[in-house]
């Protein structure tokens, strides 16, 4: 899963394109942390794919422990929209009242492929608190494909979320990554 995202020409920090990608990642994190879900949906292409594979403990010689068949998320624009609309119903008990999240995004590597899409790899740390419960924390890697629309805006066309945990130490994944 890590092969293709780094293919093409490396886009280095300090370039305009790298700054544009960074800005999109920051605006996305801000939208998610502040419940602006429609703005977030607007950052996704119509054909977006959103996948989080399950990780297992394996010897290094057997790979990184990801198995394509089993996933924590296997979503598209329609289902992500359903998730967002659910959060807005007041009957999404896992998020009523809502969690407080903070998305920390770092270690951003950008590559430009021949077809014009950008491969963006980043590390995430997401903290979540809810009611008076303690912190839940999620860490891992995101592999994003970005595509420029006819309006000139970059949008997320695909996201693969690679969690560090094999056993998720959270009651549920009602937050978005």
């Amino acid at each position: 899963m890590t092969e293709s995202i780094d293919s093409g020409t490396r886009i280095k920090p300090g370039t305009d394109l790298y700054a544009e990608v960074s800005d999109l990642l920051l605006r996305e994190a801000d939208a998610l942390d502040n419940y602006r879900y429609d703005e977030w949906l607007g950052m996704l292409t119509e054909d977006v794919t959103y996948v989080m594979p399950v990780r297992t403990s394996q010897f290094l010689t057997d790979g990184k422990g990801f198995h394509g068949d089993a996933t924590f998320f296997s979503d598209d624009r329609e289902s992500l929209t359903t998730r967002v609309r659910r959060l807005e119903t007041e009957f999404a008990w896992a998020e009523t009242p809502p969690s407080r999240t903070r998305h920390f995004i770092s270690n951003v590597l950008v590559h430009e492929r021949e077809d014009g899409e950008l491969g963006v790899r980043s590390s995430f740390m997401i903290t979540r608190t809810r009611q008076d419960h303690g912190y839940q924390m999620f860490t891992g890697e995101r592999q994003d494909r970005l595509r420029r629309g006819e309006d000139g805006e970059l949008r997320f066309a695909g996201r693969v979320i690679l969690p560090d945990q094999t056993v998720i130490t959270a009651t549920n994944l009602s937050v978005l990554f």
């Binding site: 403990s57 198995h67 089993a70 998320f73 998020e95 056993v167 009651t171 549920n172």
Partner: protein, 437 residues
Amino acid sequence: MYMPNADIRARLEATVDPEAGAIPMFVYTDPDVYRLELENLFGRTWLYVAHESELPEAGSFVVRRMGEQSVIVGRGDDETVRVFLNSCRHRGMRLANEDFGCTEMWRCPYHGFTYGSKGEFLGTLIGAPYERQAYPEGLDKEALHLIEARVESYRGMIFATWNLDGPSLDEFLGNVRWYLDIVLGRAEMEVVGVPQKWIVPSGWKLPSENFCADAYHTATAHSFLARLKLVEGVDFGRDGYHVDPGGGHGLGIGVHDPAEGSYFPDSLEAEYARNLDAEQLGLLHRVKNFHGNVFPNLSFLIPNFIPMGDQLVSGMMLRLWQPIGPDKLEVWSWHLVERDAPAQWKRLARKMYVQTFGVSGMFDQDDTENWEAQTLNSNTALTRPDEVMLHYAMGISAAPLDDFPGPGAAYDGKFSEAAGRTFYRTWLDALLARGAA
């Protein structure tokens, strides 16, 4: 501060009264109760450990749990499936530290004691390093055989128990087999990938009884479904049957109008007909959803069919509610599908399962929320001087149907807690060691 129960058995006998529909709240998370559960229930009863499709070849193994104990479920080089305590006979180190794999032998990472796929200590030269120098008097190979559980399987489901001379798996499952035939025996099933695992701060009985005997919560806990028009009305949890098959197992079957025809793939109809009798097949054709629990902590679910695109689809699952403490559990959730289902069905079923169930699933998010808060309340009730009693009397005076085709007591409509009362009766008997667990 938690005060230990002076006599937990006496307190259980005095307060747990399933036949009257009364269960005291402290049993959800009480540490002394939990201790009894590990010894007298999880240490004695049949426990689900794996599906045969997870062990495709000689040497395949998965690491699972029986109660809190780590076990290796492995297919030996003679193709027989065995279950061993994941613990070296030398110093108790874990032998398998990866989640699954395929191997001819297990070598302990601590001192190198080595065991074959049948659990046998492999003896001189290969068994223990420097064996002749370290153990000039020799090693008793028989005494070093891995600690082995008793194993039996039903319809591809592998169960194990530490109770070597208790009832057979067939006796233990009893009437629930007729229903498991429909859920897991209707066709050759395969587990899709590895299980999702996550931790919920909840006593293990709360989700078990929810899958066993609680169709009633769906209209409230999952009301977003109706709000978002994913189902036609909030009554999707009501129409059908509640079944108390006995033995602490329990299930509910949601049905639709037979005129609509089967919701399952047409191309599998011949396989279904081969594996089911006429009455089981007739029921399958009406299934809209199907939930249940095999005592004590294995749940199964065919979730309510919902439209994915223009097709009605459901993604079935098996669940283990693994206890990891009085008020904490690890959920293990497997998606299963008919091996010969059309590729498109398999794709949609997997998508439906992940989106609606599992740790990110829109149903599960709401359920875990309830179990977590109940657990917090149960913990705080442990210090109260009075006994907080909870209401388990739904359907207590209802008479079972006399024309239902399946065995056990079946009730018209899913709103009943009959099997939940039997769950707690079976649980109590096991804890107090009355009858066979």
